[in-house]
Amino acid sequence: MSMATATVQPVEREDYLNKHYGVGSWLLTTDHKRIALLYLISITFFFFVGGFFALLMRLELLTPAGDLVQADTYNKLFSMHGMVMVFFFLIPSIPAVLGNFLVPMMIGAKDLAFPKINLLSWYLYIIGGVMMTHCILTGGVDTGWTFYTPFSTAFSNSKVIEAGLAIFINGFSSILTGLNFVVTIHRMRAPGMTWSRLPLFIWAHYATSIIQILGTPVVAITLVLVVAERALHLGIFDPKLGGDPLLFQHLFWFYSHPAVYIMILPSMGVVTEVIACFSRKRIFGYHFVAMSSVAIAVFGFLVWAHHMFVAGISVYAALVFSLLSYSVAVPSAVKVFNWTATLYKGSIHYDAPMLYAFGFLGLFTIGGLTGLFLAALGVDVHVTDTYFVIAHFHYIMVGGALMGYLGGLHFWWPKISGRLYPEGWARLAALIVFIGFNLTFFPQFVLGYLGMPRRYYDYSHMPEFQVLNVLSTAGSTILGIGYLLPMIYFLWSMRYGKPAPDNPWNAAGLEWQTQSPPTTFNFVEEPVVTWEAYNYDEIDAGHKQEAPVVG
């Protein structure tokens, strides 16, 4: 796919990267693309922090005895792995990096609606991140990322308050990003960019933003209550003082279940773009894919108590929530079938982003289907709080969300950096990640059904679990290499990579009609959209789109 290479210009053009220089020009920028890069750097840091904790945990579990770290250390490792990965990597990952970079460009806008609020989001993220880092460095927190009361409020001897406040502040970063996206998508679309011409990446981010706006405040106030309870012993969540610990779980999961969709929906958006581009086709069932994103966002709010089937809720509530849980499975299935159907009679290329998309399809299918096991009441009783759950949500949140994130990063890297990444290495990395991931997490399904509870650091009384744990640990090292590779070659490409043409994939979408990297306001003239999304037939037939190409 190198039809567009002829448009590379030898002279250095002004773009968003070289227009201004100096630290100040970055820290005070309101350019959505620069803010996206700020996020990229900060979330990458937290990704490797969280990944380091994960590797230590896997090493500890290599042998049944608790020999590598102490019990308390291990408890802090999994707690901080969860908090860092969920709140400081996965939730901001695609929206704050790729979404920030692409949402305005894809709809033909010069910037997000509120550029200063966008910058504020990043600063809130950084304040939360610094607090979290400080918390980690000065002793950490051992409540699990779920902060279950009364353990977190009355028993834990770790820095619960600081961690809670870090996540509280970080939550507002997420809310403001979602707010910015919704307003931008509603108000800033270029002329002719109707709702049914929007790229499905935009639809996915729109749905994600709904969750961020309506869900995040609930977990924020819940964490305020936890902090207040811990500091002042109010009794709201403490059964010793008349409170109900299950209320905490209700409020926590009201956000934290939909939060899974904050992670996976944008990834679905990425995969949709990639599959359309590399099979040179319009997406099969555009409207169904778009609506299923919104359906997932809305239905996602109806199912939270399926995390609590054995927690002591009423059996009737359990029935209701189990039934509702399946409502969210249907639109997910619809998406998978539509992606598959898009491949049919396509002209499929195997570039690295597409390999990640294939990986996403496989892992998300397995992750989604094992969700059915957990929604089925009778089976959930046995597998909840075991490694089965761990495996399931890693298939969704790492197999799904992270695969999509990496795929998207490869796909848009030429646009972001103006350089091409090394294709061969990228394909190798995609393969390594896929193999390493399955080796790490598939054995955990078996472990879970055998009954190994999560958050155990010592299983010396259950040596029969060792073989599967060894497999998992072996996989995790492969996975670690798979994640390290892209970071290395992306950094390499920034200096040594070939200059990227404006549209290296010959892809549809307004973002590809800007120069690579784009100028500060993306377009010289406001584009007027006269074509449908994913008009690959017209592109491949040689019709030029009439959007202004900058340069």
Partner: protein, 346 residues
């Protein structure tokens, strides 16, 4: 061969088979779906790979197809839901006349007390082929009582009772885990469930000198002076507790509730909360005065005042219990009372 590398957990309770059946059904369904998607993706990816000069064929979508793959999965999901709900409901509803065991969880151990009076720590001896009901509470944080071989799990909460039950079908020694993260030694909060043949179980039971739990409760009931108000006639300042357990109770505010374990517990700790109609709220609270174990004994005593057949408690006669549904030969040390930890029957 699989001694060190098991792929399927022991199946040792009446529920386990039901859960496994649904689990296998789910594996088949999701296996078929996975196969379908993977085959299609791999086939399309190979068959329609890019060839020079061949353009992709644009297909807009198809409403019939969309409806098909919306409705068929929905139908399958509803089958799974119903099946799962039935299994769940059965596993949540303790049969009448179960043997009762009171469980007190604390960081980081399980304290178990049989209604007959035997106390155990991190170990529970039960007979094969009998319904056992667990009445559980926690002294500190949330724990979870998990026996993988029985496919049974229930969170144990401070401040109230949660209930679970099982019917062991195969003698042996099985893992007991705490499944809800509870602090430093969470992974040390484990134990053994020793399932024995009824005769061996009887022998084990008779080795213990203590009387039934309800007798302990009766003693506490007298020591705390409860008898002065809760008399066996209608003249007491508190309700007569004879035959009260398990019956509907009319409250002062007009509501009617069932006098269950949680109600008795609440009435001891927070007597003003649900006062029986016709009585004055004069009872003092026993919060902080009775321990969880004493509370359990009191509950067991109040239950023992109920007419026979109402609670089970002491009424279950071991002689009438049928042998296990799954009369497997007794395995190695299912019978030894203090089976050493770490040696498990797989």
């Amino acid at each position: 061969m699989f001694n060190n590398f098991p792929l399927w957990p022991d199946r040792a309770s009446s529920t386990a088979g039901n859960v496994d059946a649904l689990f296998i059904f789910l594996i088949i369904v999701s296996g078929m779906m996975t196969l379908l998607v993977f085959t299609a993706v791999i086939y399309f990816a190979a068959r329609f790979r890019h060839r020079k000069g061949v353009l992709a064929e644009q297909i807009e979508g198809s409403i019939p197809l969309e409806l098909t793959w919306t409705i068929i999965p929905l139908g399958v999901f509803m089958v799974i839901f119903l099946w799962g709900a039935v299994v769940y409901f059965n596993s949540r509803t303790p049969p009448r006349d179960s043997t009762e065991v009171y469980v007190v969880a604390k960081q980081w151990m399980w304290k178990l007390e049989h209604a007959e009076g035997q106390r155990e720590i991190n170990e529970l001896h039960v007979p094969v082929g009998r319904d056992v009901k667990l009445i559980m509470t926690s002294q500190d944080v949330i724990h979870s009582f998990f026996i993988p071989a029985f496919r049974m799990k229930q969170d144990v909460l401070p401040g109230r009772y949660t209930v679970a039950w099982f019917h062991a079908t195969k003698p042996g020694v099985y893992h007991l885990f705490c499944a809800e993260y509870c602090g430093t030694q969470h992974s040390g909060m484990i134990g053994d469930i020793v399932v024995m043949e009824p005769s061996q179980y009887e022998a084990w039971m008779s080795g213990s000198p203590s009387g039934p739990l309800s007798a302990t409760g009766e003693k506490i009931f007298a020591e705390l002076g409860c008898v002065t108000c809760h008399r066996t006639d209608t003249q007491g300042r508190g309700p007569n507790l004879q035959g009260m357990f398990g019956k509907p109770v009319q409250l002062q505010d007009g509501r009617t509730i069932t006098a269950d374990e949680n109600y008795v517990r609440e009435s001891i700790l927070d007597p003003g909360a649900k006062v029986v109609n016709g009585f004055k709220p004069v009872m003092p609270t026993f919060q902080g005065i009775v321990s969880e174990e004493q509370l359990n004994a009191l509950v067991a005593y109040v239950k023992s005042l109920a007419p026979a057949g109402q609670t089970g408690g002491q009424t279950a006669n071991p002689a009438t219990i049928a042998p296990g549904l799954n009369p497997a030969p007794v395995t190695t040390h299912g019978s030894s009372k203090g089976s050493p930890k770490g040696t498990k029957v797989q």
